[in-house]
């Protein structure tokens, strides 16, 4: 019933039809018990009403229509946002909402080029040490105050303030000097040229006039953000939803969609039911949902489905300090013995690509021309023989009498990874390697096994930034406790390449450094790179103007629109009384 209320655009008819339906419904129930003879008639009457309202529902959404202001998009999130000051939060729900309320100085365009956001333009000094940003004039905060370079300065200062509990200080601690040249010019200077510097300024700029001199951790902006972005914060009903409204004087033009709602639906099965019932307009799907459970006519009539490559990969990592995995040939042999195609077809139902290295194919730094490990038992066996392993009469590989076995760790709750582990276990058994699988809760996996280097092999995934700086994961200096090179990868050439690339601004040169870096990683096989999964999304058909691109779908969100005759929600629906 509920969604029917929104289907027509005129207010009066909505409340009318809903009221009359409720009435007939109760009427039917009373009368059927009292007058059994007429009950059939009333049921028919009720069905007629039901039929009428259903006919209204079958609007055709195929007409692209004309862009118009209005309607609401409803998203859903498993977890509730924690804190709408993006500096202080690390969860995706918070960043998703804050990303629509705040702007950075720069951003990625649809092809992943860096373009100005709050910055009109920028200059990188000849020595590559400083960047001067020229900021857009006439940008206003949602409360009407003008945006200036002082806001950028404040954001920088509060980020590096030791009292701010933020996870994002590292990039900004490299800044030697930050200065406000005039109200709309801001300059930062670094000690050494730092290539990821430019994109680090995509960080959300905070309003100085509301925060300076106050404790940011207790600021009201945590629950009621005030930004410069395309959407203005309206309301947060805890545990239920967050509501944003279009910023009518957004500097890139008013968004067509009037309202943005993020519902909190903590159960993924419920979320999928809500999608089928049109209670949610946009949702990420699992491979099974994408390929099977949404393949019925009514769903296809109401929703468009999209798939695109994201920025993440899943891998099997070896502890390079552990006996057999010190030998490159063993790692290569295991890479050959695992059938990636089988994993992608069997587990992801084809919704992924075979991984070749630590960068994804949609990144500019990607180099696909590296050593590839197609499934080959012969090559695997030959390499293992080289490394001194002999097959015993029981079919198990042995070296100096001891069998080749290791434990493979996976985290609980991630079905895809657990299934991968099972397929890998079977393939390795064919070669003669015994892999035991151990499934562990996330926190203890990290604290007891990874941090203490108490593992042999592990299946994990990385989400990466389109800006390729592999320093944290692959540089040999990053092997400390809680640091990310936990497999203890050390390679002098890789260290040099990463450092050089980090301090070079010329993209062609950097691309060469990263190309070589990827060749070495592929050759050394410290990870078995398994797959790059596709992101799969369903969006209601009334939203037009969606352009899938390298950067995903969200890059032109403010240009999405709903033609007037296909609108579902009134302007001020969704707010609590």
């Amino acid at each position: 019933m509920a969604f029917r209320h929104f289907l027509t655009s005129k207010a009066e008819s909505i409340s009318f039809s809903s009221a009359s339906f409720t009435l007939t419904d109760t009427f039917v129930r009373i009368t059927t018990s009292m007058l059994p003879r007429h009950s059939l008639l009333y049921i028919l009457l009720a069905l007629l009403f039901l039929g009428c309202s259903q006919q209204k529902g079958t609007t055709s959404y195929d007409d692209p229509g004309k862009p118009a202001y209005g309607d609401t998009i409803v998203m859903a999130s498993i977890g509730e946002a924690s804190n709408l000051i993006p500096l202080l939060s690390t969860d995706s729900a918070s960043h998703e909402i804050a990303g629509r309320v705040y702007n950075g100085l720069v951003k990625y365009d649809k092809d992943l080029n860096i373009v100005g956001d709050l910055a009109e333009s920028w200059e990188i000094a000849k020595d590559n040490l400083s960047i001067t940003f020229r900021l857009k004039k006439d940008v206003k905060w949602h409360d009407g105050k003008p945006f200036t370079a002082h806001d950028v300065m404040y954001t920088y200062k509060v980020t590096i303030d030791p009292k701010t509990p933020t996870a994002y200080a590292a990039d900004f601690q490299l800044v030697k000097k930050a200065e406000v040249c005039d109200d709309h010019t801001f300059r930062v200077t670094y000690d050494k040229p730092f290539a990821p510097a430019l994109i680090s300024w995509a960080t959300a700029i905070m309003p100085r006039h509301l925060l300076e001199g106050k404790d940011i951790t207790t600021s009201p902006l945590i629950r009621k953000p005030v930004g410069t972005g395309p959407f203005v914060f309206k309301e947060w009903i805890p545990g239920d939803r967050v509501v944003l409204a279009a910023n009518t004087d957004y500097f890139e033009g008013r968004p067509y969609i009037d309202r943005y709602i993020m519902r909190i639906i903590p159960d993924s099965a419920t979320m999928f039911l809500e999608l089928k019932r049109y209670g949610v307009d946009m949702m990420g799907l699992t491979p099974l949902q994408f390929l099977k459970q949404t393949e019925y006519p009514r769903f296809k009539q109401e929703y468009n489905k999209f798939k695109y490559l994201g920025f993440s990969y899943t891998y099997l990592g070896f502890n390079l300090k552990h006996g057999p995995f010190k030998d490159k040939r063993v790692r290569q042999a295991i890479s050959y013995a695992i059938d990636r195609k089988e994993i992608i077809d069997g587990i992801l139902l084809g919704l992924g690509e075979e991984a070749t290295g630590p960068f994804t194919p949609n990144m500019w730094a990607y180099n696909g021309n590296v050593r590839r490990y197609g499934y080959s038992m012969e090559k695997a066996l030959a390499l293992l023989k080289d490394a001194g392993y002999e097959k015993g009469s029981d079919g198990i590989l042995k070296k100096n009498g001891s069998p080749f076995e290791f434990t493979l760790l996976v985290n609980q709750g991630n079905t895809v990874r657990i299934q991968c582990a099972e397929l890998i276990q079977r393939r390795l058994a064919e070669v003669g390697i015994t892999a035991k699988i151990r499934v562990l809760e996330w926190a203890s996996l990290i604290n007891e096994f990874i941090d203490k280097r108490n593992f042999e092999a592990i299946i994990l995934g990385w989400s990466i930034n389109p800006e390729p700086d592999p320093y944290d994961i692959w540089h040999s200096s990053k092997q400390g406790v809680k640091e990310l090179n936990f497999i203890s990868f050390e390679n002098k050439e890789v260290d040099e390449l990463i450092e050089k690339a980090r301090h070079t601004f010329d993209r062609e040169k950097r691309k060469r450094y990263y190309g070589r870096f990827q060749e070495i990683i592929a050759e050394e096989a410290p990870y078995v790179f398994l797959f790059y999964p596709y992101a799969t999304v369903a969006i209601h058909k009334r939203f037009k103007g969606i352009e899938p691109a390298a950067a995903g779908l969200n890059h032109n969100f403010i240009k999405w629109y709903v033609p007037e005759d296909q609108r579902r929600y009134k302007a001020n629906a969704a707010l609590s009384p």
């Binding site: 639906i265 159960d267 609590s576």
Partner: protein
């Protein structure tokens, strides 16, 4: 009676401290730290950042010092500030989630008692009849079947297939535009499935209690006497048997008071109801110690209070306890 009450109240204090001490220690022994779940494996979190966050929350101090600090605040009824990134006072977080949990629990409790007691009475009166067996199977099916499964099936049937009831949440999006009548209808519609399903699971307990205690009473000699002096059956049942048989049921009512503020995580997640169960679960997953402790203290207090009330009700209903 008054002395008994005071004594009970006095003994509640050490019990409450005992509960808090044990919960505090157990919660802190779990591996992982606040924010650790978010910050682990995040390339941007350096060691210094982690230390900074630790000292910010006071986690670098030994456990007994942390407990002492917490205790000093709690005696002033200050539940502290959440460790979650929103940094809100714990009491606010609990307050905004308590009403909906209490509403649903009250409704489903009422449903359980209103349906469960008659079922129990019927089953006792017509013991071993076919309907008795059918009802028993029905209530046990409710007890045994996993809530989430039934919930999903009913959501699919009433929500997606029939499109009669909303699937999740407690209010529609156009709630603010509805008239008062429609608003009530809207909330009621949203509550039908959650209340029925949570009530369904609780029917078995209460109907069984009712049935057994009524059977027990019906075997007594004074019931035979009542029949013998020619009273109609309904009178015997209502006036003589039921009054005595209701005693254990009253105890259960008292014992379910602490249950009123607790909610089931699975259940609340499935229906997207922002209640206490979810708050507690998320606090545990995020190792948000102040919120966990806040909920536990309130829960412990209510449990003790519920026991006390049950005892008092018992005394009120049964003169033997009151006098003796």
């Amino acid at each position: 009676m008054l002395r008994y009450l005071l004594k009970r109240l006095f003994f509640m204090i050490p019990m409450l401290f005992g509960i808090t001490l044990i919960s505090f220690v157990v919660i802190h022994l779990v591996p992982g730290e606040p924010g650790a779940l978010d910050a682990d494996m995040n390339p941007k979190v350096t060691k210094q950042v982690r230390e900074r966050i630790r000292s910010f929350y006071g986690l670098d101090k030994p456990l007994h010092v942390q407990y002492w600090m917490w205790l000093k605040r709690i005696v002033k009824l200050d539940f502290g500030v959440s460790f979650a990134p929103d940094r809100r006072p714990v009491i606010d977080k609990i307050k905004e989630r308590l009403p909906v949990t209490i509403l649903i629990n009250l409704l489903s409790m009422a449903l359980i008692f209103l349906v469960g007691i008659p079922i129990g009475i019927y089953c006792a009166r017509y013991k071993d009849s076919i309907l008795d067996k059918a009802l028993t199977s029905f209530v046990f099916a409710g007890y045994a079947a996993p809530t989430f499964w039934i919930a999903l099936l009913l959501m699919m049937f009433f929500g997606v297939y029939l499109e009669l009831l909303p699937i999740s949440g407690i209010k529609s999006f156009n709630f603010s535009e509805l008239s008062f009548f429609d608003k009530t209808a809207d909330v009621a519609k949203h509550l039908i499935l959650p209340v029925c399903i949570s009530g369904f699971g609780g029917l078995a307990g209460i109907s069984r209690y009712m049935k057994n205690s009524l059977l027990e009473v019906l075997r007594q000699e004074y019931i035979t006497t009542a029949y013998a002096k020619g009273l109609p059956e309904s009178m015997v049942l209502r006036k003589h048997a039921l009054r005595n048989a209701l005693l254990p049921v009253i105890t259960i009512l008292g014992l379910s008071i602490p249950g009123l503020i607790g909610g089931s995580v699975i259940f609340e997640s499935i229906f997207s109801i922002p209640g206490m169960g979810q708050l507690f679960y998320m606090s545990v997953m995020a190792r948000d110690y102040p919120t966990i402790m806040g909920i536990l203290v309130i829960g412990a207090f209510l449990t003790l209070l519920g026991n006390l009330i049950a005892d008092i009700c018992y005394a009120l209903a049964d003169p033997r306890i009151r006098i003796g």
